[in-house]
């Protein structure tokens, strides 16, 4: 399995303030990688920094072997990276179809068959294609946000807490999609609050604490660890 995303010695933050320090992360093609950690650990900050939205002080990011450190966000999309932020991840006044079209913006023409593929993954979206995204429920919105990100056919997909605020049944559906997307050969990186579910489903896991790497390994192994369970999984 190729390493699709490699982050090394990564230090980044807001303004002059470093929030994450010397972080490393690897995500392989066709796998799901989950990042867990307490609130304020810097999980969202790590994703934003990978995506070129905040200041990177040092370190590198490579996608499929190419260095993309400090490439601006809009160009990263063309380099095979896609990102779904936790909040404000759809365009509320645009229709579902238009949201997807925007996701395919970097393609020369609106990729019609790409959209058909996304609609095939999320059939609920097709039924409501003309509705504005602002009218969708939280779970549907999350589907649309993932669909929008998939429109650029990324090799690496970053998702920030895609199940936050969703019912347990929707959480299961979202994870079903995450695993299915990984199976199509993409590297999916998921930040999750809901660590127990995430660790039982994902392939690999990283535990981030206070802006630094604390643990990593196969997700199932982290789930079994007594110490991690006590401190971070509420057991």
């Amino acid at each position: 399995m190729e390493r699709a995303l490699v982050v090394e010695n990564f230090t980044a933050g807001y303004g002059k303030n470093a929030i994450i320090r010397n972080v490393h992360l690897t995500a392989r093609e066709g796998t799901s990688t989950v990042i867990i950690g307490p609130n304020g650990a810097g999980k969202s900050t790590l994703l934003k920094a990978i995506f070129g939205l905040i200041t990177v002080f040092s370190g590198t990011v490579t996608i499929d072997g190419q260095d993309v450190t400090r490439v601006t966000a809009d160009r990263l999309v063309a380099r095979g990276l896609a990102y779904v932020p936790q909040n404000g991840n759809v365009f509320p006044s645009l229709s579902i179809r238009e949201n997807l079209e925007i996701g395919g913006y970097r393609q020369q023409h609106y990729p019609k068959d790409r959209m058909d593929q996304v609609f095939a993954i999320f059939p609920d979206l097709l039924k409501a294609a003309r509705r504005s995204a602002g009218t969708l429920s939280g779970g549907q919105r999350q589907m649309l946000a993932m669909g929008r990100a998939l429109m650029s056919d990324p090799s690496v997909l970053l998702l920030d807490e895609p199940t936050a605020g969703l019912s347990p049944s929707y959480t299961k559906i979202v994870w079903h999609h995450i695993l299915a997307i990984a199976q199509t050969g993409k590297a999916v990186v998921v930040v999750e609050q809901n660590a127990n579910t995430a660790l039982s489903l994902a392939d690999r896991a990283y535990l981030l604490v206070a802006g630094e790497n604390r643990e990593e390994g196969p997700a199932g192994e982290l789930l079994e660890r007594e110490d991690i369970g006590e401190m971070f999984l509420g057991r």
């Binding site: 809009d74 759809v90 365009f91 925007i102």
Partner: protein, 293 residues
Amino acid sequence: MSLSMVWLGVGFGLITASVLALSSVGLTLQFGVTNFVNFAYGEFLTIGAYLAFVLNMGLHLNIWVSMFAAGILTAVVAWLFNIIVIEPFTRRKAPMIILLVVTIGMDLFLMNGVQALFGPEFKQYNDPSGSILHVGGLLFTVQQLWIIGIAAAAMVAVHTLLKYSKLGKAMRAMSDSSELALISGIPTRRITQYVWLLSGFLGGLSGVVLAINVNNFTPALGSEFLFVIFAAVIMGGIGRPYGAMLGALIIGVAMEVSAMFFDSSYKTVVAFAILVLMLLFRPQGILPSRGRV
């Protein structure tokens, strides 16, 4: 107080609404994408009017040709305005209040620049207003019908752009969230530049038809009209182009109908009163909110 006078006011109102629709849509589109109010926008109207004056009186071009050329030149002025004046601040993520102060300063600077070049006295185009036509019981000069037609065509063009083109959809996406637009791969800086071009073009056109409509004009033309534009923009919900079209229609007709019954110098006051009432009771505009369109 007769019905026929109201009807007459509606006729004039349609003309004012046309002038207003062009400028309101131009201002609100730029606001939607960039999220700050350009207080120098009135000067785009003034610059458009004086550029057309040069073309019409200096080069003896037909007034409508002059108008179109002035619109394009004003678009370039607005584009440069963004690159030279605004971008240095947005690059540093300057707070909105700074941008407001900068545009207010630029308003004065540009107005005085126009006055230094052309003098403070009244100017007038060479534009025969043409014969008078009856349309649905209303009287219009051919010239006034041109104004209405140009505004209507521009609104259809803006609608087509926003609804069907990749560029227009990118503008609407940025209007919802420029960060998510950037994340989605939209080159937001470039789209912003296109918005300034469009905003300047519509402002320039509006300035020329405003100058035609009021007959003679001074360097204060645009800045005096700015609060009328604000009234229409806020009535439609700031940042919403379709709202601005509706706001222009309502404000334009309200102003001219009121001018039938009161001294016509009060019609700006009417627009201003509506503006204040809107800000007090419904600052989000009259349309139901559903995100911005």
